[in-house]
């Protein structure tokens, strides 16, 4: 199936009717004669290459990344990007936990969209168990709803944090208010603002709250208005456009070779999205587009994310209408925890509960790689099982890690100040990159 792609760089998609950010005619401001002499003089000054250090505790390095730069004046000659400052030993910890105990760990991978990590991990274990087809449809719809909400939170955070670093602090406040609406909604549902641990192997922990659909629709309307406000603030702003348009360009071939996925890849014109190319869950029930831009620059990545927010909200709206009634977790005592009333009132329930908690659910020996589309791109889990209740190996394929690997190529030759918007638009999440 060929994915339908909307080119967000085309004029018709711009928020302001008929305005295309790329067609603007600004031109260079002329310098006064004395300033011109000064600028010419500065060109002839002798320079010396120096090595400076940026991060890991630099305000613009919002993960914890250290970049060692060799610079000549303002120009970056070479860079060494160092990650790992947030390494917690995710894989080693997983090898010691039962399959269910890993959910809190995956929450902390991409901590801006934990629901998507939950879904990605649950699907990998379900594939290994061979129960992908048996997941109740209502559970799949709930996963899509919370997952797409998490994706919107992820994109909003990336966009507005990056804008704040360019001086647009108002946009940041609007965006954070929008994210707060959705976090309130998810807190209402899961009990936690950030580390939800809401999915389970075989479904989700519990059903939607009673008036979730109405609350969700109200929140969507509020978020739409706030995202529009953010766009109106920046999309015709000269500082924003100068620092985004044509800065940090990567070609499609290089992006593929670096293993870049998600919005950063789609900004180079490759319409690869796991939800469309390999539809999983119930994503084939919805009508949505995969936005692409063909420039591969900061502005392209911004426009793709903005359009994806809209597409994700559309998916949530459709899912709220289509969602069928029914159970939310697979009916199998070997996979799902028994209901509490059985645990407290029957010996069989008590034993099943005990075995689940102490030994974990048994996964047949084997190995699998399962991919889902997370906020930053393809989130893969490669799980090796030896037949016990704990994974022999639980590898996470972190989209941010591969995107950050391309940072060096993107900033060499650019100015020091360009690091900030380039790094911001890649949306490196420390918890996911360093695991």
């Amino acid at each position: 199936m060929q994915p339908t792609a909307t080119n967000v760089a085309s004029p018709s998609v711009g928020l302001v009717e008929g305005f295309d950010p790329r067609s603007r005619q600004l031109g260079e401001l002329p310098l006064s004669p004395s300033m011109q002499r000064f600028a010419d003089e500065a060109q002839r000054l002798p320079t010396e290459e120096i090595i400076i250090n940026m991060g890991p505790s630099h305000p613009a390095m919002h993960g914890t990344v250290r970049v060692v730069l060799r610079i000549d004046g303002e120009t970056i000659k070479d860079a060494d990007v160092q990650v790992g400052y947030l390494h917690r030993g995710f894989e080693k910890e997983c090898e010691g936990g039962t399959y269910t105990q890993i959910f809190p760990y995956v929450d902390r991978l991409n901590y801006v969209s934990p629901m998507l990590n939950n879904v990605g991990y649950a699907r990998a274990v379900e594939k290994l168990l061979g129960i992908t087809e048996r997941i109740p449809e209502r559970a799949e719809y709930i996963r899509v709803i919370v997952g797409e909400i998490a994706r919107v939170c992820d994109h909003i955070t990336c966009i507005v944090a990056s804008l704040a670093e360019l001086g647009g602090i108002t946009a940041f406040f609007y965006g954070i208010r929008a994210r707060e609406h959705f976090w309130e909604l998810l807190e209402d549902l899961s009990g936690a603002r950030l580390t939800h641990s809401y999915c389970r192997i075989g479904g989700v922990a519990w059903d939607l709250t009673q008036n979730f659909p109405e609350k969700c629709r109200t929140k969507i309307a509020k978020v739409r208005a706030l995202v529009d406000d953010v766009r109106k603030l920046v999309e015709r702003n000269r500082i924003f456009l100068d620092r985004m348009d044509g800065v940090g360009i990567i070609s499609a071939a290089d992006a593929l070779s670096y293993g870049i996925t998600g919005p950063c890849l789609r900004a180079t014109g490759v319409a690869y999205d796991v939800r469309k190319d390999h539809p999983y869950s119930v994503y084939d029930h919805f009508d949505f587009d995969i936005p692409v831009a063909d420039t591969g620059d900061n502005l392209g990545r911004y426009l793709v994310r903005v359009e994806e927010i809209d597409q994700s909200l559309k998916i949530v709206e459709q899912a709220l209408v289509q969602i069928p009634p029914g159970p939310v977790i697979v009916d199998d005592p070997l996979i799902a925890l028994p209901p509490k009333r059985e645990v407290y009132n029957s010996i069989e329930g008590m034993i099943a509960h005990f075995k689940h908690i102490m030994d974990g659910l048994r996964v047949p020996p084997g190995e699998t790689y399962s991919a889902t589309e997370a906020g930053n791109g393809e989130l893969g889990f490669y799980i090796v099982s030896d037949g016990s209740g704990r994974p022999y190996k639980c590898r996470c394929r972190p989209p941010s890690f591969y995107t950050t690997a391309a940072l060096r190529q993107l900033i060499v030759g650019a100015n020091i100040a360009d690091i900030v918007p380039i790094f911001g638009s890649l949306n490196m999440i420390g918890g996911e990159c360093d695991r």
Partner: protein
């Protein structure tokens, strides 16, 4: 998808140890001597066209011979298919190496550094094989099964250990051959 394994078997009759499929994932186990040839065939052949090295990791089967399995997860955006290529290496230090794939995919650079860092499998020919997630002074390779989960190491610089800062400075100043552009 069966044709992919078949064409590999035809092209490298001695290089392929096993082919198979599990839960819909295509798996090929290759001899180390043929690894780069197989990977570059999979990248260049039009019917395979694996433009992406999606993921690279290793598994430690402690107690088995050979002990490690290095796992390459490939994906083709144009053909929309995946394949998993595996190569087996043993723990003895003269045998614990794999040829690098950095000349085929840019993503191999960092992911091979990660496998070296966490499993101690060398990638021969890698332009810049440093630790990436752990710090340079760390002793051992933490994802090996014989590295205890609760082990703690003091973060004290040993006098003979390479200093991270010196090494970085040397890399940036020296005429190293890391590629800037793909």
């Amino acid at each position: 998808m069966a044709s992919l394994s078949e064409s590999l078997l035809q092209a490298f009759p001695e290089g392929i140890i096993e082919t198979g499929s599990y839960l819909g994932d295509e798996i090929v186990v290759v001899e180390r001597e043929f690894l780069v040839a197989v990977l570059s065939y999979l990248r260049e052949d039009p019917s395979a066209a694996f433009e992406m090295l999606m993921d690279l990791t290793a598994v430690d089967y402690l107690g088995q011979v050979p002990r490690f399995e290095v796992v390459y997860e490939l994906y083709s955006v144009s053909q929309k298919h995946r394949i998993r290529v595996k190569v087996r290496v043993d723990e003895a230090s003269e045998d614990c190496w794999v040829p690098t794939a950095t000349s085929l995919w840019l993503s191999a650079n960092w992911s091979e550094r990660e496998v070296w860092d966490l499993y101690g499998i060398r990638f021969e020919g890698h332009p810049d094989l440093r630790r990436i997630l752990m710090y340079e002074e760390f002793v051992g390779h933490p994802l090996r099964k014989d590295y205890p989960q609760n082990a703690r190491q003091p973060l004290i610089r040993r006098p003979d250990a390479p200093r991270t800062d010196d090494q970085t400075t040397r890399l940036l100043e020296g005429s190293h051959d890391r590629r800037v552009s793909g």
